[in-house]
Every structure is written in structure tokens, then in C-alpha cells.
């Protein structure tokens, strides 16, 4: 793909600039600590200190995937209203690459939610969550970020088609929280739902993240990491393929811009 890598980095830099120009895009990082306070209050008050890692990870992961999905939609919506989407399609850069650059930047920034929530626990509740398996944690986190970015690309592709899709982007995040095991490990979900969740990389990722915090040895780490990465790659492939298809459809119907 000629010229893909400059396009990726330029898109990422552009998105970082967007955070500065429009801090509203960071809203989820503002709400995540509040969520952490609520959850930690419940676990501490209920005498379940063992659940503190859950209470810290849940809002952080939700902020991350939520930002990716919401901003993916916003990105497409704004680009299309400004007539920029059409201009992007005339350039040699593949749309999926540009989207990936932007969403990768969003995801990188959204990871700050983990530090925020950890600090809420440490400072607000005196609950210092230790990372028992730092390498497992780091590798899983990186794979998770890749998967979240890929999910954002897939969502953005969907938003290329229609202007009405925007209204459901908000409600779409909740099934993702659920299937991703962000709040509740998917093993605790009804079996049908759990089976469905296993094709979503995030369910594997959140399980691994939680395991990496617990002192017990992490079982079957590499296969599980492979599952996260494999499903993340599949998600990106799907997003890339879909963006290709949708762009073609939009070119056929003549509705790239709003004109």
C-alpha cells in the first residue's frame, strides 16, 4: 500500500490535535473516575476487597472502548459534514488506514483511564491494586489496545454509509461493555451470551487483564493472548473489508458528501 504509513501517522497526529482543539472528546476520561468511585464504594462497603481490581478495570476498559466507538462515529460524521471524507477518498491513502491512525491515537489516549482509576483506588480508598504479572499485563494491554482500535475502525466503516447510524452509536456501546466482559466476566453470563462473547476479542482481553492482577499463576497465557490478537486482527480485517465495500457502495449511490 503506497503511502500508507505517512497517512497513518498524520491521521494519528491529527487526532491528538483534535483532543486539544476540542477537549469534549475526552469526556469519557472525565466520567471514568466517577464510575471507579461508585464501584469501589460498593466493593469496599460490601466487604469484597478482592473485587477491587474489577472495580478499577471496569470503568477504565469501558472508557477505552466507549471512546473508540463514539469517536469513530463522530470522526466520520464530522468529516462527512465538512466534505472532507470525499476529499480523503480521492487520495491514494486507503480510508481504513486513515481511520486506524485516528482511532489508534484515541485508544492510546484512552488508556490513561487505567491510571486514573488506579489512582482513585489508591488515593481515594487506600486500595493499591498490585499488578502481580507485569509482563502479562503489559502484553495484554497492548493487544487490547490493538483490538479496541480495530473495533473503532469497524464501527467507523458502518458510519460511512448513513447519517442516521449516528443515533445508535451511544446505545451500541452497552452491548459491547457486556460482551467484552468489561464489568462482569463473561463466564458469569448466561451460556448463550458467553458463547457469543467469545468471538469478541475484548472478552478474552478483560479476563486476562484481571488474571494478570491476581497473584495466582495465569493459566494458558499464550493461547489466550493469541486469541486476543487473532480476534483483533480479524476485527480489523472486517473493518477494512467493510470500509472498502461501503465506500464502493457510496460511490455507486453518489452520496459520499451530503450534496
Amino acid at each position: 500500500m503506497r503511502g500508507s504509513s505517512p497517512a497513518f501517522w498524520a491521521a494519528a497526529r491529527f487526532q491528538l490535535g483534535e483532543f486539544r482543539r476540542d477537549p469534549g472528546t475526552l469526556l469519557m476520561l472525565v466520567t471514568a473516575p466517577f464510575f471507579a468511585v461508585i464501584l469501589l464504594s460498593v466493593t469496599e462497603h460490601g466487604g469484597r476487597a478482592d473485587l477491587a481490581p474489577y472495580a478499577i478495570l471496569a470503568p477504565a476498559v469501558m472508557a477505552s472502548i466507549g471512546m473508540a466507538v463514539m469517536e469513530a462515529g463522530e470522526t466520520i460524521f464530522r468529516d462527512r459534514t465538512a466534505g472532507v471524507l470525499e476529499a480523503v477518498l480521492t487520495t491514494p491513502a486507503p480510508l481504513a488506514t486513515v481511520l486506524l491512525g485516528r482511532i489508534a491515537a484515541i485508544t492510546a489516549v484512552s488508556l490513561a483511564g487505567i491510571a486514573e482509576c488506579w489512582l482513585v483506588g489508591a488515593v481515594g480508598f487506600g486500595v493499591v491494586v498490585h499488578v502481580a504479572h507485569p509482563l502479562v499485563f503489559a502484553l495484554t494491554l497492548a493487544a487490547t489496545a490493538a483490538g479496541i482500535a480495530a473495533t473503532g475502525v469497524l464501527m467507523a466503516a458502518v458510519f460511512v454509509v448513513g447519517r442516521n447510524v449516528r443515533s445508535f452509536q451511544n446505545s451500541l456501546t452497552f452491548p459491547l461493555y457486556l460482551l467484552g466482559g468489561a464489568m462482569v466476566p463473561v463466564a458469569l453470563l448466561p451460556s448463550g451470551v458467553e458463547a457469543l462473547s467469545r468471538v469478541f476479542f475484548l472478552s478474552w482481553a478483560t479476563d486476562l487483564l484481571r488474571d494478570s492482577l491476581a497473584p495466582e499463576p495465569v493459566a494458558a497465557f499464550w493461547p489466550r493472548l493469541a486469541a486476543v490478537l487473532g480476534l483483533a486482527a480479524a476485527t480489523f480485517a472486517a473493518g477494512s473489508w467493510l470500509s472498502h465495500r461501503l465506500v464502493r457502495r457510496v460511490r455507486r449511490n453518489g452520496t459520499v458528501g451530503f450534496a
Binding site: 503511502g3 505517512p6 497517512a7 498524520a10 465538512a82 476529499a87
Partner: protein
Amino acid sequence: MSITGIEAPAVEVRGLVRDFAVKGGPPRRALDDFDLAVAPGEVHGLLGPNGAGKTTLCKILSTVLLPTAGTARVQGLDVVADAKRVRPLLGIVFGGERGLYARMTAAQNLRFWAALYGHGRREGRRRAAELLERVGLGPRADEAVETFSRGMKQRLHLARGLVGDPRVLLLDEPTVGMDPVSAHEFRDLVEDLRAEGRAVLLTTHDMAEAEALCDRVSFIDGGRLLRCEDPRVLGELLSRHERVRASGVPEALAARLAALPGVERVRATGPGAVLVETDRGGAALPVLRTLVEAGVTDVSTAPPSLEEVYLHLIGDRGMAVRP
């Protein structure tokens, strides 16, 4: 380059058709069996009224819209089958306010677009700085685009169109919103592009601009090519059909004007206001003289409208407004 070593036409369009679906009705044909050829290094004007199909053609050439039938090639490459290879060859400037990131600075916008054409950071910076100078935006390079006037945005659009160093430029009404000075500078810029051997397809409503800039002019209406002409033909039509507008003209004077040689007709456009249409070069002069001698001072001349030129180009056939 083709295999024979002769450079392929910059743009070659054959039998191009584009239909748009219309809710609850038959499809609307925006382009109808359209043919066009632009040679390398040629500045080709595409002149037509609103809704003629100019933008539709530009969109098909720039690969964002698929044709319904027919073929379009850029330097010998098909815009549908070879879209990926066509894109690096093209620069596109769509008129108006759209297509720029309003909150980014001019330089940031250009660097972003340079990257989408595959240029690394340093090269992107270099091109952005050079192009901003070239379009006269150097001093405003680091200001947000939303603070720009329309004409300045239009210049930035031009710079954006050039950032990929294209062999073929599609300019869709590039001077919309420019003041006459800028429009004049724009003409110089197009001359430079021609000198650099780039082909330019320029759509416009502005006949004077087309006449001044283009090597050839194609007339489009209702999605069809009417004629492809030397711009001198256009210049001739413009001067031959000059119009005189005046107010405070009594009926008797209007009748006298109508009798002057070379006056095609005198139309009342309001109480005492007339529009005198001529059909011979120099015929406006006696009209002006007669008016001034009769004490009418509210007088102006103007070139004929696009619609009139069309009428003269094609005769009275086929100018019915299309649905």
C-alpha cells in the same frame, strides 16, 4: 505513457453516463453520452449552467463516483478499474467551503493532505510551506482555517489540490468567492501550471475566465456535450452579443434604440428600465451614444449571459429547461 511512447491523453472520456436515483421517479441523468479529451499540458474549460453535470464529471474522474456507463481515463488509466493508480496522478479542487478542516491551521491542513499522498513528514512540511507561499497564504500559514475569508479558503483549496504534485488537476469552480485581484492571481497560477506541463480541467460559469485561461472550451448542458471550441469563438460571441442596460428610458427612446443597426431586441426589465441586446460587434456603441445624447445617464454594459451564449451557439434548439 502508452506503449508507443506517445503520452496518453491527460483525460479521455467516452460515452460517459451517470444516472442518479430519484425518490419516487425515474432516475435523473446527470451525464448523457458525454465525450471529452484533454491533452497533456492543456488547460481545458468546462462551461455550463447550474446542474449541467460539471461536478458529476469531476467526481467520476476523481474516483469518488462510479459511472453508470461509458469510460473515463486519466493518463490512459481507467478511473474505475485502475482507481488506485489514478489517484496519485490527480489533484482535485472542489469549490466552496467544504473539504478543509476548519479548526486546523492552513499549514496543518496541507501537511495532513501531503501525508495522504504518501509524503513523509519533512517532505510534507516543505511542500506545505512552498505551496502556501505560492498561493499567497504564507503570512497566514499558522492560523486556523475557520478564520479565513472565502477567497482565502479557496486559495488553500488550490494549494491542497497541488500537494500531491499531480499531472492532472480538476478545478471545480476554483474562483468562487475570490475577489477580482485574487481571480487575476489565480489566472497567473494556472499559466504556471500549464508551463509545468500539467493538464487542467477547469469548470466554471465565468465565460470571461474561460476565454482568458483555456486552450479549448467544452460547453455542457443537461449532461451533454454541446460543442468543443477554441475560446476565441467564445470571445467573439461575448463581444458580438454585448448588452446595454439603462433606466429612465421613455418608450419612444426605447423604440429608437430598437431601430438602431445591430440591435437584436430591446427588453423592458422594469418601469423605464431596458435591456438592449445586440448581435453585431460594436453595435453597443451607437446604443450608448443615443442614450447619453437623450440625457440618460444610468447606463451600463455587460457581456451576454451564459444562457444567451448557449442560445447563439446551438441556435434555438434544445434549450428547454430539463426536468
